[in-house]
């Protein structure tokens, strides 16, 4: 009897919360295929009565959507690969060797995680202006490349690799870079996957830096491109909705495939280590 009550209670919560979580997404999908007159119509319905591709046509007219989609893909891919590779190099340096200043340097790695990013905004902006980096992708790729958290995460996993493996390779005459490539990288794969997923997601969704550094429509990444549609969210909702829908497809696909494993692991790894 008590079991049945508990079961009903748990299921009721699951149902209500699922409803609250997915409804906004469903409404985004539905509204993308509605004219604004229908979006404003009452009573609300999710399924469009007269489905239309009008919003998508206007969207492609207003902003170079696919161009921005490719920009986002390029930036996210470049940021992800460079970040994972370089963070792994640094993590290996800390995990493999004893050297002067190691403790202090590692403390600095951790400290970079804790520095409030707000203090960097203004001076970095002026610095990148002087580098002539405005309207280029460098500010989106280089500053976040050696992420303190990424180094920390990969470092923790590399510490778990038996030292004998490194030494065997060393006796066989392998260079340190080769040891990194054939021993450390394969054995730290789980950590690298987490970093890959987190950095890709972060970069794909990043809004602040691209807003600051990109101003040419043809150069914008998707979040900023979509934000330029905001000017008329008061007038029209259908068009930004259509853009929002198309832009969230890749990341939701990623979540539903590899996501559960690496997103969830990445998040919990961060929490437990923090």
């Amino acid at each position: 009897m008590r079991h049945a009550v508990r079961r009903i209670a748990v299921m009721a919560v699951v149902l209500v919360v699922t409803f609250a979580m997915v409804m906004p997404f469903f409404m985004m999908v539905g509204n993308s295929f509605k004219l604004d007159t229908e979006i404003a119509a009452r009573p609300l319905s999710i399924v469009p009565q007269t489905p239309t591709l009008y919003n998508f046509r206007v969207l492609f007219d207003r902003i170079p959507f696919w161009r921005q989609f490719i920009n986002s893909t390029f930036v996210a891919t470049a940021a992800t690969f460079s970040s994972t590779f370089v963070s792994a190099l640094v993590a290996f340096g800390f995990a493999r060797f004893q050297f002067k200043g190691k403790r202090a340097l590692f403390m600095i790695v951790i400290a970079t995680i804790l520095i409030p990013p707000q203090v960097l905004i203004v001076p970095q902006f002026r610095m990148f202006v002087s580098f002539l980096w405005i309207n280029t992708y460098w500010p989106l790729i280089l500053p976040g490349m050696v992420g303190g958290f990424y180094v920390y995460l990969i470092h923790q996993i590399m510490l778990g690799i038996p030292r004998d493996l490194f030494e065997c390779a060393q006796i066989d005459g392998a260079t340190e870079f080769r040891i990194f490539r054939i021993v450390a990288i394969p054995l730290a794969k789980a950590g690298l996957a987490i970093v890959t997923v987190l950095r890709f997601m972060g970069s794909w969704n990043e809004f602040f830096a691209p807003l600051l550094y990109l101003n040419d429509q043809e150069m914008l990444t998707l979040p900023v491109g979509l934000a330029t549609l905001r000017g008329f969210t008061e007038i029209t909702l259908g068009i930004p909705m259509a853009g929002a829908l198309l832009s969230s497809v890749p990341i939701l696909l990623l979540l539903s495939t590899v996501g559960n494993r690496y997103f969830v692991q990445g998040i919990t790894a961060g929490a437990l280590k923090g």
Binding site: P24, M27, G93, P116, L120, N205, M241, F263, T268, L272
Partner: protein, 292 residues
Amino acid sequence: MRRTSRHLAPYLFISPFVLSFLVFYVYPIISGIELSLTDQLGFGESNFVGAANYLRVLTDSRFWKSISNVALLFFFGSLASIVTLAIAMAHVINAPEIGRLRRPFTTILFAPNVTSVIVIGIIFSFLLKTDGGAINEFLGLFGIEPVQWLRDPRWAIPSLIILVVWRYLGVNTLYVLAGLQAIPTSLYEAADIEGARGFQKFFRITLPLLGPIMEFIIFQAAIGTFAVFGEPFVLVGGAGTQNSMLFPTFYLYDTSINRMRFGYAAAMAFVLATIILVITIIQRRLFRSSEE
């Protein structure tokens, strides 16, 4: 030859970090301090003004309005709503009764967290619309008059609370779950033998042992609330009616990038960083003392 390369190897591996640290952290912070002591406007000449910018920040009512918005969103959104709901959701996910729905339910809870803030902003500008918005329509079913979520300054923070609860409930539930897994089951077995009730186990074992993860959650929430930017940017274009949605990062952005008052903005950033630092220290103290 071989020996020297072995000796150099560690430094070669960590050199990208050292380089990145010097270029993207050390130099900006030093030049930021320098900048904050000048009246730098745009990219031309500037004069040394000492601590004048800092003193102006301390009496800048818009700045303090943005801090009080952070405080409201943090206490009512993060602490009162998200943390309690996340603890509840973690228990639901851990309940044996959920059965095969566990994984899909976890993924659904987590989905908003991988969605960009702009997409979320666009969705919520529909949900929070005064006329015909989904939330007002839903409240209308219970005879509640339409609320001017985004226009009425009194409803600005509640609007953001709804948004952040939806966005961050999932990820915080995962944090709590991670914390729950770290609690040894033997403690609960011992409590069962002693005949402890469910709520006794919750308050005597679960809650105290979630301490470290709570510290992490609250730290993340505080940092995240100070960094709020995209939500008000999409929903109301930045500051909202009577600065009701003004957040420090937007104020900083507006002062520097839009108005080019770089000297003043640099000083504001350091005041902000000091506030964040003080909060972090207080929070550490609180958690450390409660653990003893």
